[in-house]
C-alpha cells in the first residue's frame, strides 16, 4: 500500500489531526498528553506504594488515581498507532542510544519535561492544539515559555554538537 511506502506530507497529516481534534473537543475535550501521563505516573506509583501514595496530597487533591481517565488512552492509542504504522511500513526496529552522553541528555530532558508539564498544568500538545486555539491567555504564556525554552535548549544542544 502506497501509504506505508512513502512519507506523508506533515501538512496533510496535521490538517487531518486538527479536524479530528475539533471532533474530540466537541465530545470530551481537546487533545492532550500530559494529564494522561500524570495519571499513569499515579497508577505506577500506586502499584509500588499502595495506599501510602495517598499520604501525598497531590494524589488525592489534584489527581485522584483511577484507571478510567480518558486522557490515558490517547497516549496508549498513539503508541499502538505508531507501532502498527512502523510494523506495516517495515520501519520497526530497536534503536538504542550508544553514547553515555545521549543517555545523560535524555535523562535530564525527560525530568525537565515531567516537572515542566506539572508546574504549568499543561503540556506542549495542550499549548499548541488546545489552549492557544481556544485563545486562552495561558496558551500565549505557554507558547512564549516553550519558544524561550526551545531557544535555550537549542543553544545548549549547539554547544554540545560543536564539542
Amino acid at each position: 500500500m502506497e501509504f506505508f511506502r512513502k512519507t506523508l506530507d506533515p501538512v496533510i497529516a496535521l490538517s487531518a489531526i486538527a479536524v479530528l481534534d475539533v471532533f474530540l473537543f466537541l465530545v470530551v475535550g481537546a487533545w492532550t498528553v500530559g494529564g494522561g501521563e500524570t495519571m499513569m505516573t499515579g497508577l505506577i506509583a500506586q502499584t509500588f506504594l499502595g495506599d501510602d501514595l495517598r499520604r501525598l496530597p497531590f494524589w488525592s487533591l489534584v489527581f485522584p488515581v483511577h484507571g478510567d481517565y480518558w486522557k490515558i488512552y490517547i497516549s496508549l492509542g498513539m503508541l499502538f498507532g505508531a507501532f502498527a504504522g512502523a510494523l506495516l511500513s517495515r520501519e520497526f526496529y530497536l534503536r538504542i542510544p550508544r553514547r553515555l552522553s545521549e543517555w545523560v541528555l535524555i535523562t535530564i530532558g525527560g525530568l525537565l519535561m515531567g516537572v515542566g508539564i506539572r508546574l504549568a498544568f499543561v503540556c506542549n500538545v495542550s499549548t499548541f492544539f488546545g489552549l492557544t486555539p481556544e485563545m486562552n491567555l495561558g496558551g500565549y504564556l505557554a507558547i512564549s515559555g516553550i519558544i524561550a525554552g526551545a531557544w535555550v535548549g537549542s543553544m545548549i544542544y549547539k554547544r554540545i554538537l560543536e564539542g
Binding site: V27, M78, A84, L112, P133
Partner: protein
C-alpha cells in the same frame, strides 16, 4: 457519555494520531528546534496550518456554546513550566507526542525519556504536596490571585461574554496572525531557494566544463 465510551473515543483518536505522526515524521520539537538552529521549517509549517484549522473550529463552536474548553486559571507557572519543558524536549530530542510515537517504532531512548518524564512528574507531586503551588484546578477561582501569581481565566468565550462580540471574530484575527507567520516562512523559504540556485549557478561558472564524452573517446581511439 460514559467513562468507558470516552476512553474508547480517546483510544481511537490516539491510534489515528499515532499512525499519522509516524507516517509523516512530524515532530513538535523539530518544529521549534529546526527553525531556531537550521532555519528549516518543514514541521513548523504543519504546526501553523493545524493551529489555523483548530482556531476556526474551536472558536466557531465556542461561539455556539458547544465543546469542552480547558477550564483552568492562567498563571506565571505556565510560562516557567513550559520554559523548562522547552529546554527538556530539545535535550531529550522528543516531546510528549514523539516519545510515544518513537517508542512505538522501537526507540529505547524515547522509552527512557518517557520513564524520566514520569519520574519528573512524581518528583513534582512531592514538591506540590509540600507547598501546594501552583493552585490546583479544584482550588482555582477564575479571578486574578496575584499572591499566587494567577491571572484569572480568559479565553475566546469569556471575551464573547464580556464584549458581546462572537468568539469566532477573535478567532479570525488569530488565524490572520498565524497566516501572516506562515506567509513570512514561505517567503523566507523562497529566498533560501533563490540563494541556493544562485550559489549553484556560480559554482557551475567557476568549474571548467567537462570535456565532451565523444571527444574523449575519439582522442583515445586516435
Amino acid at each position: 457519555m460514559s467513562a468507558i465510551a470516552e476512553c474508547v473515543v480517546a483510544f481511537i483518536f490516539g491510534s489515528v494520531v499515532g499512525l499519522l505522526v509516524q507516517r509523516s515524521r512530524f515532530c513538535n520539537t523539530a518544529a521549534l528546534r529546526d527553525a531556531i538552529l537550521f532555519k528549516s521549517y518543514r514541521n513548523t509549517k504543519a504546526l501553523l496550518v493545524a493551529m489555523m484549522i483548530l482556531t476556526i473550529g474551536f472558536t466557531g463552536f465556542m461561539t455556539l456554546g458547544a465543546g469542552h474548553p480547558l477550564d483552568f486559571d492562567v498563571g506565571a507557572n505556565q510560562f516557567v513550566g513550559l520554559f523548562l519543558f522547552g529546554i527538556g524536549m530539545v535535550l531529550a530530542g522528543a516531546c510528549t507526542v514523539s516519545t510515544w510515537v518513537k517508542t512505538g517504532e522501537g526507540n529505547v531512548g524515547a522509552l527512557w525519556a518517557l520513564v524520566c518524564t514520569f519520574i519528573g512528574m512524581f518528583l513534582f507531586s512531592i514538591a506540590w504536596s509540600w507547598n501546594y503551588w501552583p493552585p490546583a484546578p479544584a482550588s482555582m477561582t477564575g479571578e486574578p490571585n496575584l499572591p499566587a501569581l494567577q491571572l484569572g481565566f480568559a479565553n475566546a468565550r469569556t471575551l464573547q461574554d464580556k464584549l458581546g462580540i462572537p468568539a469566532i471574530a477573535f478567532g479570525l484575527v488569530q488565524v490572520a496572525v498565524l497566516f501572516g507567520i506562515y506567509r513570512a516562512i514561505l517567503r523566507k523559504e523562497m529566498a533560501q531557494h533563490v540563494r541556493h540556485e544562485q550559489a549553484a549557478a556560480a559554482d557551475a561558472l567557476e568549474t571548467p566544463p567537462a570535456e565532451p564524452k565523444v571527444k574523449v573517446l575519439a582522442s583515445r581511439r586516435g
